[in-house]
């Protein structure tokens, strides 16, 4: 889908985030190349939104980064000053929030919310800013007169478009989409995503696409990373992941939705529930739910329950953290 990625835009190394004493993100490694679409998938509560907030540097107490680094174009964000971070936000990395319903200030006109943001980063007059806001709205397929509207006067889909337009406003190099379509119906979902793709062709930004819906990622993403209980368990180019998923969790996820074409497959979910992060399981965090973790295989079982698997490159571009694969 994309040309060979040359420049690494964002690199996350060993990121650790805690809420109080609970470790929500426990040693994550990610890298995103310029212009690439990286999908981040996992169940609710696995920490994917936390990663997004960490990249945007908008974590609020009691959440805090306790370890690792986030390198944007080579510079570590952890440790930058408040003012530097303020300038970085939105200009270099912007975000499309999950519920556009609530992401817009209810008492401000839409256009003013654009103006706000532009004036925080550049010297523009209000008039020019409003004009640009109108242009941005047209880009996402809305009438530019809508700059004068209040958020409650727009439909859900329209609000989502506004949020996308806002994310583009400063032409950032990376846009994070945090569950951008979860609150919308299927038809609108598709429209929005196609819109994003079209915009990407024109503006050429990288995307981190966060969702629990793996099927969407298989269609839209270049590479996919699967998160479980605060860790990355598998990452690979989309096509490879679909063809040869190696981690049992990934396999379970792929079996959870039916393919549109091809023979009918029996649907199986993944038994059990995500672990309580206050006391994660020992060893491999997935082992209580893993169909391949059986006491009969004594030696393997011992490793699965006592040693945390590390993310290893099994094939080119395909990393997995799993004892089975190591064996």
């Amino acid at each position: 889908m994309s040309a060979v990625a040359t420049k690494t835009l964002l690199e996350v190394k060993g990121l650790e985030v805690e809420y109080g004493r609970v470790r929500a993100v426990d040693g994550i490694n990610l890298s995103i190349a310029a212009g690439e679409i990286l999908g981040l998938a996992g169940e609710s509560g696995c920490g994917k939104s936390t990663v997004a907030n960490a990249i945007m540097q908008i974590l609020r107490p009691p959440a805090r980064i306790v370890g690792g680094s986030i390198l944007f174009e080579g510079e570590d964000l952890v440790g930058k000053s408040t003012e530097q971070l303020r300038k970085y936000r939105w200009r270099n990395v912007s975000m499309v929030f999950q519920s556009a319903m609530n992401a817009l200030n209810p008492v401000m006109r839409v256009g003013d919310q654009f103006v706000d943001m532009m004036q925080a980063h550049e010297h523009v007059s209000k008039r020019r800013a409003i004009v640009r806001a109108g242009e941005l709205l047209e880009l996402v397929g809305m009438d530019k007169g809508r700059v004068r509207a209040y958020p409650h006067e727009l439909s859900g889909g329209m609000r989502q478009r506004v949020i996308i337009a806002m994310a583009l406003a400063l032409s950032p190099e990376l846009i994070i989409l945090d569950e951008p379509t979860t609150a919308l119906d299927v038809v609108v979902q598709r429209e929005i995503l196609q819109q994003v793709e079209a915009l990407k062709r024109d503006f050429d930004f990288a995307v981190v696409f966060i969702t629990h819906d793996l099927s969407l990622l298989l269609e839209f993403a270049d590479r996919i990373a699967i998160m479980y209980a605060g860790e990355i368990v598998e990452s690979a180019p989309a096509a490879q992941l679909a063809e040869s998923p190696l981690h049992p969790y990934t396999q379970g996820l792929l079996r959870s939705f039916p393919p549109l074409t091809g023979p009918r497959v029996r649907l199986t979910g993944i038994p059990g529930a995500p672990p309580d992060l206050r006391e994660p399981p020992s060893g491999c965090r997935f082992h209580p739910r893993c169909p391949y973790c059986l006491p009969e295989n004594a030696a393997l079982y011992l490793r699965q329950t006592s040693e945390r698997p590390r993310l290893r490159m099994i094939e080119p571009e395909h990393n997995v953290a799993c004892h089975l694969v190591d064996a």
Binding site: Y19, G20, R21, V22, A24, E43, S44, G45, S49, T50, N53, P61, P62, A63, F97, Q98, S99, A103, D178, E179, D276, L277, R278
Partner: protein, 322 residues
């Protein structure tokens, strides 16, 4: 004078059902919860302290509060008269300590009566709905619009006798509206729950549903309502006494302050007859306000200073942190 007013809250979810064991003593769930929260713990201690003082007051008051001694008038605090004496030589300490009894009792009783009226009217209106609801709503709003103090002042003016029970009735009759609205709102949320619908379907009469099903499930909110109306009653009652419109023959904080004001003692620089009863009053109200704030924090985790628990719950319930 509703100077401090908490938001609506729902304590039900937070109370541990069966209480907690401390050594051999079983502490009821709600008490344990309130003791754990810093604010309500402080508040409870203050209120308990005042109640304790009121109870043992005959033992610690040096003289009868109304004893006057013309030789020892207007004396500043000393070892002999801990809080000084009034312009008639009465011991202020005794007045404050004995006055606590009446002030607290009247406030509590008026508060209880007002809460009862508010609960019955509010909950019944919510459950029955229709015209009854409209009427109660109207009544509530009217009593919230007509200012309470002026109304009480005028009504007191017309009263021939101003004994304790009369004052309780009058105050309760004006203050019930404060909480009626909130209790009605909460009853509305419970109205369509399964257990109420089941009771209705099995033919239980309205009064039994209101008293036997709805009220017991709103105990925490009703208790919070009581605390609020309690301290407002305290303020209102002492306020009326200060104006000379309460039961002026009784010994209470407001009456002591009244005499201090009327005799211009303050303007003459004698601060003790008004300062000490005021402190007692303010402290009690502060205690009650703290208890209320604590209840608020317990039922709304976001408000707590220790936000770890609130965030954790959000995290584990899978809500995406935006």
């Amino acid at each position: 004078m509703a100077q401090l007013d908490p938001t609506a809250l729902d304590l039900q979810l937070a109370v541990p059902k069966r209480g907690i064991r401390v050594g051999r003593i079983r502490v009821p769930g709600w008490l344990a919860l309130l003791l754990r929260n810093r604010k309500s713990r402080a508040g409870l201690f203050i209120v308990a302290f005042m109640v304790f003082i009121a109870i043992i007051s005959p033992l610690i008051s040096v003289a009868h509060p109304n004893d006057f001694n013309l030789l020892a008038t207007r004396q500043a605090p000393s070892w002999h008269h801990l809080f000084g004496t009034t312009d008639q030589g009465s011991d202020v300490f005794s007045q404050v300590v004995v006055g606590a009894r009446r002030s607290l009792l009247l406030g509590a009783l008026a508060g209880a009566l007002a809460t009862l009226v508010a609960a019955v009217l509010g909950i019944t209106a919510a459950y029955v709905g229709g015209i009854v609801d409209e009427i109660v709503n109207l009544l509530t709003n009217v009593f919230l619009t007509i200012p309470a103090i002026p109304l009480l002042v005028v009504v007191s003016g017309y009263l021939r006798t101003r004994g304790m029970w009369t004052m309780i009735a009058v105050i309760a009759l004006v203050l019930w509206a404060f909480e009626a609205r909130i209790l009605r709102a909460q009853a509305l949320t419970l109205k369509n729950r399964d257990f109420i619908l089941a009771a209705k379907a099995s033919g239980e009469p309205t009064w039994r549903i209101v008293f036997g099903e709805l009220m017991p499930n709103m105990i925490s909110r009703i208790a919070a309502a009581f605390v609020l109306v309690f301290y407002i009653s305290l303020l209102v009652d002492s306020g009326l006494e200060f104006l000379g419109l309460g039961d002026m023959s009784a010994t209470s904080w407001g009456v002591t302050i009244y005499w201090a004001q009327v005799n211009s003692t303050v303007l003459q620089g004698e601060w003790w007859p008004f300062m000490f009863p005021s402190l007692a009053l303010g402290l009690t109200v502060l205690g009650l306000v703290l208890v209320l704030a604590g209840i608020d924090e317990v039922s709304n985790p976001q408000l707590r200073a220790d936000r770890k628990r609130g965030r954790l719950a959000a995290l584990l319930l899978g809500r995406a942190a935006a």
